[in-house]
Amino acid sequence: MVSLRALNKTFGGRPAIRDISIEVDRGEIFGLLGHNGAGKSTTFGIMLGMVAPDSGEALIGGKSVQRERAAALASAGAIFETPSFYDYLSGWENLAFFVSLSGRRIPRRELEEAVGRAGLSDRIGSKVGTYSHGMRQRLGLAQALVPRPEFLLLDEPTDGLDPLGIREIRETIRSFRDDLGITVMLSSHLLAEVEHLCDRVAILHQGRLVFCGEWRTASRRWKFQCEPEAAASEVLRSMGLTECGGHWESGPDFDPAATVAAMVAAGIAVRGVTPSRQTLEDFYLERLGS
């Protein structure tokens, strides 16, 4: 659905992103993570054609944003961390304006449906200047849903929301995929939220991609139940694993089957080998070397 190919961008001689390549599959909720200044906004900017890459290209639905921007973005919607609207216009007028830029006539019914889905039906006639942050976020969701996108890009969608608002937005995002079949790519500093929503994530650090894939299965921590333990520890160390708080950390080329075979050959009884569960926060910080 989305393909970022070897993206590079420099601002004033300072590289913002370096050689970023990411594939997002149709129907998935994909997380883009990184500290402030890691390159997330630049990546999103390139995906929406707001930032021109020095090299590489972004494709949405197989169409290049750099070469055929209008066609590529015709199937995409976006929400920013602080959606900006015209405070002196009503929610409906804002919505009608942004939707008119999509290049085709949208039936009123479709707008009303999006407003209803965003839970704004009661206040859509009020001036946006009177909206709370959460309501602005919902209006942002509504405008991104019209015309019906195949791909949604959400930049910090839960930023500044209270816990209830965060949960509502999370459920809404999940319903985009489950009910509407929309592919979602999101960035957030709230790793617990990303953990709830995303199976696959990409982690950026200082403009470089340090991880991209299924973070749960990429865990490199293992728990071994063996006897005798001392002999098992010796074998594991000899195979390049390091002990860390009751777990064993492996390198990227670790082969569990070969390790078990080596231990059995050394006369060790192996009762179990399980990847230990990690939170996304642990995984993220580990990848950043923090």
């Binding site: 900017g45 707001m50 920013f80 304006f97 942004f98 008119s100």
Partner: protein, 281 residues
């Protein structure tokens, strides 16, 4: 076509829904009343009467609503017009960049060129609306004060001294409005061009006004009198030509061709810079 009209309608709604857009209208009303009062001061009125009677025309007939309306327009339009057109045109892109709404716009499948074209079209509508408003309210103020009669035109810097009966006066005045609006479009183009550059809205407005003020000052310096016709504000005064007895169509056409070329150059320059800019939070 209907999509483009809907998009233009959206731009106009945005423009005319802002209170700031109406500051210009309100200010013009205020200034028109002040100028009207000043024109009634005995010393000023005596000077006008002397001027007319010296040329053999009756002051009663020609110090009319038409004359006062034109005088008010002539004395206010470039000073205040520059201010409010620079304010609106200088704001139109840069304010959206500053507020973050441009990011919302650019996340839509619309080309940057179309975005600029819509915004400039909305600015043109504003320019023509403001011009019509200025003329109509100036005439209304003049008529309320002096009633009907002929038209007396005295524009010394443009070398125009003419009198017309009421019917011809109306005709000339009607012809002057679109030409005045065309002249004012140059201010709009300058403001719009600066608005496309990476600068704050206030800076775009101030730079636009600076260009016009510097041009006006240089134009009035005696050592530049031989090239006076080449200054921007001199070309913008071409509309006054419609009040000459024999309208200098050829000279006016030349001046407006220059203005159009300048406007087009400014728009292209603004569009090129805007197109090459990165917009990131």
């Amino acid at each position: 076509m209907s999509v483009v009209l809907a998009q233009l309608g959206g731009e106009l709604r945005k423009l005319f829904a802002r209170k700031r857009t109406y500051i210009g209208f309100a200010a013009f009303l205020g200034v028109e009343i002040v100028v009207l009062i000043l024109l009634q001061l005995p010393r000023v009125r005596k000077g006008l009467v002397r001027l007319l009677e010296g040329a053999g025309y009756g002051a009663e007939e020609y110090l009319s609503g038409l004359t006062l309306g034109l005088m008010i327009t002539l004395s206010t339009v470039f000073l205040l017009g520059a201010l409010y057109l620079a304010l609106v045109a200088g704001d139109v892109v840069s304010k959206e960049v500053e507020d973050g709404t441009l990011r919302m716009i650019l996340s839509r499948p619309i080309s940057r060129l179309r975005v600029l074209a819509l915004k400039f079209a909305a600015c043109l509508v504003y320019t023509f609306t403001l011009t019509v408003f200025i003329t109509v309210t100036a005439l209304a103020a003049g008529f309320l004060h002096a009633g009907g009669g002929g038209l007396f035109v005295f524009a010394p810097t443009e070398g125009v001294f003419a009198v017309y009966d009421a019917a011809s006066g109306w005709g000339r005045l009607a012809l002057s409005v679109p030409l005045l609006a065309l002249s004012l479009c140059t201010i709009t183009s300058i403001g719009f061009c600066f608005s496309c550059l990476p600068m704050k809205p206030a800076a775009a407005t101030i730079v636009t006004l600076s260009v016009l003020f510097v041009d006006t000052i240089l134009k009035t310096l005696p050592f530049f009198s031989s090239i006076r016709g080449w200054f921007l504000t001199a070309k913008m005064n071409a509309w006054v030509g419609v009040f000459e007895y024999r309208i200098p169509w050829e000279a006016m056409f030349e001046q407006y061709t220059w203005l159009l070329a300048i406007n087009a150059t400014l728009l292209v320059a603004g569009a090129v810079v805007f197109h090459s800019r990165d917009f990131k939070s």
